[in-house]
């Protein structure tokens, strides 16, 4: 290699380093390129078409919104396994209240957002006051929601007016409304984390609750706040989903495995399960990686169930890999 090209390579490397991107973006690029190659060779070959890309984006919206919320709680060294059931509750309640009438939309929104706040607060209180492990806490509250929901409904409920389905199907120019929603949530989430005191305190509490407390941070409030934010994003996802399906049903949340997948993409995006490190940009990259993989599996015709096997294994590998990496850094 000549001296000039070596120098040029070094300049490029310095530039990339200075961007301070999480490692996940490298994985994203690799995944994208691999998927492109594989689908061109073995699949339908239209990977770069606008319809495929748009589909990928829309597929990212549901998981992406709730993953932003999950990022908040994981940053605080907590976690939320109840999101899938909250998504179902939202979808069902929204559909039930709207009953196909546009005039009911505001009431429906108020109710589901209210439920989100309540669920988030309950989760946060149990974790901070009763000091119950967050995995168990949110598993428990999820179960309670599951029980109440299934005891009341067992099929599609109510209907969503077509005016609301704008969220699920319409575009603003070339961009789907839902993608705009996702972008808003991501930008807002990032803003809160980087620019507000709450965000700074969330990182501190996740890094070390004791140190944060010694510095005067009100740790309980921060964690409860993170849980409320997570629940609200779950509500938004639920609203998006029901705007696409047209009516709510109790199985919508669990079917999409939003609990485990939101955790997986957050960890994949570089947010440490132990808290204090990471952010929404990494999570979104993780979401895109999952969307690309889903499209890839679709195009090459991989069996639906094998995909599920892979999903489960990827979660384990992602957590293991990041644990290994953080241990290396500590050494």
């Amino acid at each position: 290699m000549s001296v000039q090209s070596r120098a040029r390579l070094a300049r490029i490397r310095t530039f990339i380093d200075s961007l301070n991107l999480p490692a996940v973006y490298l994985i994203l690029v690799i995944t994208f390129v691999t998927a492109y190659l594989l689908t061109t060779l073995f699949g339908r070959g239209d990977f770069l078409s606008s319809s495929t890309l748009t589909n990928m984006m829309v597929r990212s919206v549901a998981l992406g919104i709730v993953a932003v919320g999950q990022t908040f709680v994981i940053l605080g060294a907590s976690i939320d396994l109840s999101v899938a059931y909250l998504i179902s509750v939202t979808a069902v309640m929204a559909s039930y209240i709207m009953q196909g009438e546009t005039s009911n939309i505001p009431l429906a929104l108020a109710v589901v957002l209210g439920i989100g706040v309540v669920v988030g607060t309950v989760n946060g209180l149990i974790v901070t006051r009763l000091k119950v492990n967050p995995l168990i806490t949110t598993l428990g509250t999820g179960l309670v929601m599951h029980g109440i929901l299934n005891a009341s409904f067992d099929n599609f409920v109510g209907a969503v007016p077509s005016s609301f389905q704008v969220l699920g199907y319409d575009n603003v120019g070339p961009v789907p409304v839902s993608v705009l929603l996702l972008a808003t949530v991501v930008l807002l989430g990032n803003f809160i984390l980087q620019r507000t005191t709450f965000g700074a305190h969330l990182y501190s509490v996740g890094g070390s609750e004791e140190t944060a407390r010694l510095s005067g941070v009100r740790t309980s409030r921060v964690i409860i706040g993170a849980h409320i934010i997570c629940s609200l994003t779950a509500v938004l996802t639920g609203l998006f989903i029901v705007s696409r399906t047209g009516a709510g049903a109790p199985w919508l949340g669990p079917d999409g495995v939003y609990d485990l997948e939101s955790i997986a993409v957050t960890v994949l995006g570089g947010t440490a399960l132990s808290g204090g490190k990471g952010g929404v940009w990494g999570t979104i990259a993780g979401v895109f990686i999952f969307a690309i993989l889903a499209t890839l599996f679709n195009q090459i015709g991989m069996d639906t169930y094998l995909r599920q096997v892979l999903r489960g294994l990827i979660i384990i590998i992602a957590v293991a890999a990041y644990q290994y990496r953080s241990k290396e850094q500590a050494a």
Binding site: G199, S204, G207, S208, T211, L214, S215, G276, Q329
Partner: protein, 509 residues
């Protein structure tokens, strides 16, 4: 020795006064009527052996503990801190050995944690960075530490500077530093000293806890010696020598009765030999252990005593050198190998590492035996009887063998750990601080038992920070310093002999 006057007259009023501080813990009087004065612009060193009360005194100063009696006067006004946060906002800061920094946050974010500057409802990043920059500039560290660097990217010495900057941001007038140079290289120490000189010029009073005499003589203006919870002396640094300090720190009558030493005919041939043992924290470890002999291990905190114990036991194994047991070379790479070679370790922290607190006395006593015999070995009546016998032999007081060990007193818990090892027919027993946190009567009890074990033919290695205990029990004494064995003393040495070896002051008396 530096010139300590530095052109400034000594202010008449001390900026910090601690008067008549007394603190009792269950079973021990940690501080007894201790007083201390610090003046602005001076470095006041505090020395004392382990357990003399230095850290307790500092914890009381910053409000982590409450004194039983006494008062603290800061800047002429009495203060009473209920929490370290209050101390910090009152211009009193302490820098511990373990820093309170978050590795994944930046320098600026760490310094202003909890009090981030705000503008129009949002964090004013620019102001935060600017102020951090100023603080770093004050410490002349701004060309290699930037406000946006992550703590993780900084060396230990640089992190320490961040801690100092944090104290300055609270406008500290009194700064306490606890063993600040423990993890620093010589060049980093020089940088720290320059910063300390700067702080002195700015009128900050520094309390400097250390056992490194050469540093104290380089940087301190006055030194206070604590011994057994009492202030023994406060001297101007020009008026003392290193050996003088050592004599002040130790030297007491052996008031407690210890069992008689082993007679030389009762001591067997070397049974465990370590040659050139070394790992990340130890080097050049050469020692021999004999049956019937109690070998004491002394040394300052951080000298490697616990590391030695854990290395022999395989918990943090040797990576070089050889271990020979009864003539055969063995590889001890994990605790199980050591146990199979009949070695047992009573750790420093029995609750964390020696006992399963929610399990019964019997189950704890039989733990190692069951581990050795195999996971599916049968639970036998004989084993239960053995447990009862052992418990009696070491005299564990409990409400029965089924009681959970968490409810036993410290002394009895220690005896349970001992019984556990006796149940596996150990030949070498290593004790790490065997009587820490145990009341006086139980202490004697344990000393008796240790001597009996030696008389029964076991080899004993006993690490202790209590010099009287090491002297009273050790048939010979190994003194550790900086990760190796600095020297060996025969039985019954003077405390000063041990301390001199431990601190590295080769001074002839």
């Amino acid at each position: 020795m530096t010139d300590t006057t530095s052109g400034q007259p000594k202010p008449s009023q001390p900026v910090l006064v601690m008067r008549g501080i007394t603190k009792r813990f269950p079973g021990v009087l940690a501080l007894n009527d201790v007083s201390l004065e610090c003046y602005a612009g001076e470095v006041h060193a505090i020395v004392g052996e382990n357990g003399a009360g230095k850290s307790t005194l500092m914890k009381i100063l910053v409000g982590a503990y409450q004194p039983d009696s006494g008062e603290i006067v800061l800047n002429g006004r009495p203060v009473h801190f209920r929490h370290p946060r209050e101390a910090q906002s009152s211009s009193l800061s302490i820098i511990y050995q373990e820093f309170n920094l978050l590795p994944d946050r930046t320098v600026a974010q760490n310094i202003f944690m909890g009090r981030e500057p705000v503008r129009r409802g949002l964090i004013d990043n620019r102001a935060m960075v600017e102020r951090t920059q100023e603080l770093l500039a004050q410490l002349k560290a701004d060309h290699y530490i930037r406000p946006n660097m992550l703590i993780r990217q900084l060396s230990v010495a640089q992190q320490q500077i961040v801690e100092i900057a944090k104290s300055l941001s609270f406008e500290a007038r009194v700064l306490v530093m606890d063993e600040p140079t423990a993890a620093l290289s010589p060049s980093e120490i020089e940088i720290l000293f320059r910063i300390v000189e700067d702080l002195k010029k700015r009128g900050i009073a520094l309390v400097y806890i250390s056992h490194r005499f050469n540093e104290i003589f380089q940087i301190a203006d006055r030194v206070t010696v604590l011994k057994d919870g009492e202030r023994v002396a406060t001297r101007d640094i020009n008026d003392v020598t290193a050996s003088g300090l050592v004599h002040l720190m130790v030297g007491r009558e052996l008031s407690q009765y210890y069992p008689p030493y082993a007679k030389s005919e009762d001591i067997g041939a070397p049974f465990v030999t370590i040659q050139n043992g070394g790992n990340a924290r130890l080097h050049n470890i050469n020692l021999e252990l004999r049956r019937g002999e109690v070998v004491g291990v002394a040394g300052l905190q951080g000298s490697g005593r616990t590391e030695l114990a854990r290395a022999i036991f395989g918990a943090e194994p040797f990576t070089s050198g050889t271990i020979t047991i009864n003539g055969k070379t063995v590889r001890i790479d994990r605790p199980r190998s050591a146990i199979q070679s009949n070695i047992g370790l009573l750790t420093e922290d029995r609750k964390q590492e020696g006992l399963a607190l929610k399990q019964s006395v019997r189950d704890n006593v039989l733990l190692a035996q069951r581990a050795l015999r195999g996971i599916f070995s049968r639970v036998t009546r004989k084993a239960h009887e053995d447990a009862s016998q052992l418990v009696e032999r070491v005299d564990v007081r409990s409400a029965g063998l089924d009681q959970q060990v968490q409810y036993l007193s410290g002394g009895n818990q220690q005896k349970v750990v001992l019984a556990k090892w006796l149940a596996t027919d150990v030949d070498l027993l290593i004790f790490d601080e065997p009587t820490r946190g145990i009341d006086v009567n139980a202490k004697s009890n344990i000393h008796e038992i240790i001597r009996q074990l030696a008389q029964a033919g076991k080899a004993v290695l006993m690490i202790s920070s209590e010099l009287p205990e090491v002297i009273g029990m050790g048939d010979r004494i190994l003194v550790m310093r900086d990760g190796t064995i600095a020297g060996e003393l025969p039985k019954g040495p003077e405390e000063t002999e041990i301390m001199l070896l431990a601190t590295g002051e080769q001074v002839s008396i």
